[in-house]
Symmetry: C2
Subunit: 454 residues, 2 copies
């Protein structure tokens, strides 16, 4: 007989004389005449309550199965007289696939700290919180694909292995097939130094100038030795790139994407979001709904600096034109001043990357950051400099050789077009969607300095 | 005025007095009274034909723009009297974004060899063939996500950086932050050896035993120094893992996924598939349709060996029970014997990995490979050994220490369940979908020994 997922059984239209469910026992309560068993199969947050009458073959089958045990239950799906669920199952047959010794199984029915659960990252998907987390992660990823596809973007896979450190976006990991201690890179797999990508932007630009609209969605790496709740050595990034587009189009795209994902997750992951709203971050759902209620704010960097200067706040880092905005400034703007996401645009050119389009004022570039309450920067992007002479000059100003960028400059040499793109850290988005404050808890198996288990 | 994508303009319901198109000139033909300009913006294979009358402001704007130049055209969308297109544009205004010097622009209107185009991988997305290729790549990826989601699978991101070499699936790249020549791994980023993943299977199993059904879709690496048309150092793999599932469920899943992607691409990428059918692999479309026409064949390894032995073929590698099937055998089975995809199951345990479920016959394991005409192995997977004592014994047989697999064995120690999964190489799938025979031509920026440009 075909097995039914618990999510489907819970949404059944009518009672069913016979149904097969599989899952892990979350709780078991033994009464005189029957045992209550709640099982979960990962298809949704909710458990199915199963009643196993004492002195039946089913009860014999259940045997000593306790929290964490895996079972297969055949039974009747009937309306539940209890509160909180529409259906329950009266078990006719129970088969245990695998027990979980209560003496050694680490996930007993009680609240565990996030720190402890990180040490058993292979088991934490069996908890309510991390089950909900990773279902939201999946739905958010789908929403990203769905959004871009409906806007005629092609998904592109930019390379993880790269010979370039163009952007200077961060410290890079080196990749090699040489034994530790061997020095001669000409003997290495690629006969030269190979790094793990910090951004697929340059390659995405090449693809956008053929396919028109592209986005990459892949792993990205930073070898920064910083142990903070916001940094991981490996994380996933979404990087759209649009030909024939300017900064306005890009702001529109960033806001549209963010709104789409929030809306999708609120609609499709109702139960999972409720868990975070109840137990992790009170008011989460309302804050997410508030994001959708009105357009995001937009303000130039110059205006943003004025707002910060007039705020009367005493910031740790003083702010004036030309300084990079710190998290304290970003959060003040989004949380206190605008009380919603805000897009800051036209940053001073000296604090931004060489490939950003220079504005006519000669002091700013057509860059934009999207700042979100509690998160700070969610998106960073820019219109790209499409004028060959300008970008060559910037490369030389950095003390680098334009020839090292030959293929990137070819995009400006042949049929150059105005184009724009941004990067969105997927884990930041997930922290925004769940209220989780440590990046280690939105990634199944996080990588940080010294941590490579699993 | 809002720009219209060429795909939308070509599908317009009615003529439009004014429309804005952007794109790159594919061809230009100058007649006495007007110039014909075909432009492409990457949104689809087809170009839009634009007519620019001589002695107009539009013609002045067009100036010396030739193949490869980027333009913006404002004009009237009118029914085309010519063959092959429903609409054309009578240009009122032409603006050139960027020229492409005919003396130096490498993509003139002629056929270029794949070998040459690999040397300009940054420009080849501007050709018909590679534009079509990468649009199919994107749609196929979407079809994968779509299929799994509709079957209640969660997308999971398994780590790229790993401390394990569990599977022995291939040579691994090492990742480090030490300078070349430095030997002391305790000083390294993770204080131990770190490799690039060859498979996310083990981590996916951990996630499946909480979430129930998961799949990963991410980059995978092999440091094999082999220069063949079928091997790349970096490629993308799809790895589903299902709890409460056996080998039959897995074969069903593999066939269902393959059929869904083929059907999706045939339906959604009609024009792009036609290009490959016409110019790359005659009969491609018919072969793909044929795959959908009937269920795939299924045959045990033992029967497959008998078929091969009775075939009367003289194979380079003789075959008998216990030998691994070679590409020549796989292709004979799929192309000549069954004339369609065939799933071979129950392989001898000695040629398969330690984690595969041992069958009761004591000589085979519940493994399966899906073999496809012209490609050979597309999918390889198995039911996983869920019995703790059996899998520990196999690890010891390999001369390894079960303690090194502590967390993987925990999945069997606590609430173990029958489960199954496979790996599908995404590039193999794309080769099947397009008829392209070199893996370097289905990846935007391929990585092979010595090749790290772009």
């Amino acid at each position: 007989m075909q097995r039914t997922l618990i999510i489907d059984a819970l949404n059944a239209e009518e009672a069913q004389p016979s149904i097969v469910l599989c899952g892990w026992i979350r709780t078991r309560r033994d009464a005189k005449d029957f045992s209550f068993v709640e099982i979960n199969d990962g298809s949704c947050l909710a458990n199915m309550q199963c009643i196993v009458d004492t002195d039946t073959a089913a009860h014999l089958g259940l045997a000593e199965a306790t929290t964490g045990a895996a079972v297969r239950i055949v039974g009747e799906l009937v309306a539940s007289p209890g509160k909180g669920q529409k259906w329950e199952v009266r078990a006719q047959k129970v088969q245990v696939y695998g027990l979980a010794d209560p003496e050694t199984f680490p996930l007993q029915k009680k609240r565990h700290s996030d720190e402890f659960l990180r040490t058993i990252a292979h088991l934490r998907p069996r908890t309510n919180k991390y089950g909900a987390m990773f279902r939201i992660r999946s739905e958010a990823a789908f929403a990203v694909h769905d959004f871009f596809r409906s806007h005629h973007f092609s998904l592109v896979h930019t390379p993880v292995l790269t010979g370039a450190d163009c952007e200077g976006a961060g410290e890079m990991f080196r990749v090699t097939t040489l034994e530790p201690g061997v020095k001669d890179l000409s003997e290495d797999f690629f006969s030269r130094q190979c790094n793990l990508t910090v951004s697929g932007q340059l390659e995405a630009e090449a693809l956008a100038t053929g396919l028109g609209r592209v986005y990459s969605f892949g792993p990205t790496f930073r070898a920064e030795n910083s142990n903070t709740p916001r940094h991981a050595a490996e994380f996933w990034m979404i990087e759209p790139e649009m030909a024939f587009a300017d900064l306005d189009d890009l702001m529109e795209l960033g806001e549209g994407l963010t709104r789409h994902v929030v809306d999708h997750v609120l609609t499709r992951c109702e139960g999972d979001v409720e868990l975070f709203d109840n137990f992790v971050d009170k008011g989460l759902r309302e804050r997410l709904q508030h994001m959708l209620a009105a357009p995001f704010a937009r303000v130039s960097y110059t205006e943003a600096v004025e707002i910060l200067q007039k705020s009367g706040k005493s910031f740790t880092f003083p702010v004036s034109f030309g300084t990079d905005l710190q998290t304290e400034h970003e959060r003040y703007l989004a949380e206190e001043h605008f009380k919603k996401p805000v897009i800051v645009y036209d940053y001073p050119k000296d604090i931004k990357a060489f490939y950003m389009k220079q504005n006519d004022d000669n002091r700013t570039v057509a860059a934009m950051d999207m700042l979100v309450p509690r998160i700070g920067e969610l998106i960073g992007g820019s219109q790209r400099e499409e004028r060959l002479s300008r970008i060559e000059a910037r490369i030389r100003e950095m003390g680098q050789n334009p020839e090292d960028y030959w293929w990137y400059l070819d995009l400006r040499r042949f049929g150059t077009v105005p184009h724009a793109g941004f990067g969105l850290g997927f884990e930041r988005l997930l922290m925004m969607l769940t209220g989780i404050t440590n990046i280690r808890d939105v990634i199944p198996f996080p990588r940080t300095p010294g941590n490579l288990e699993f």
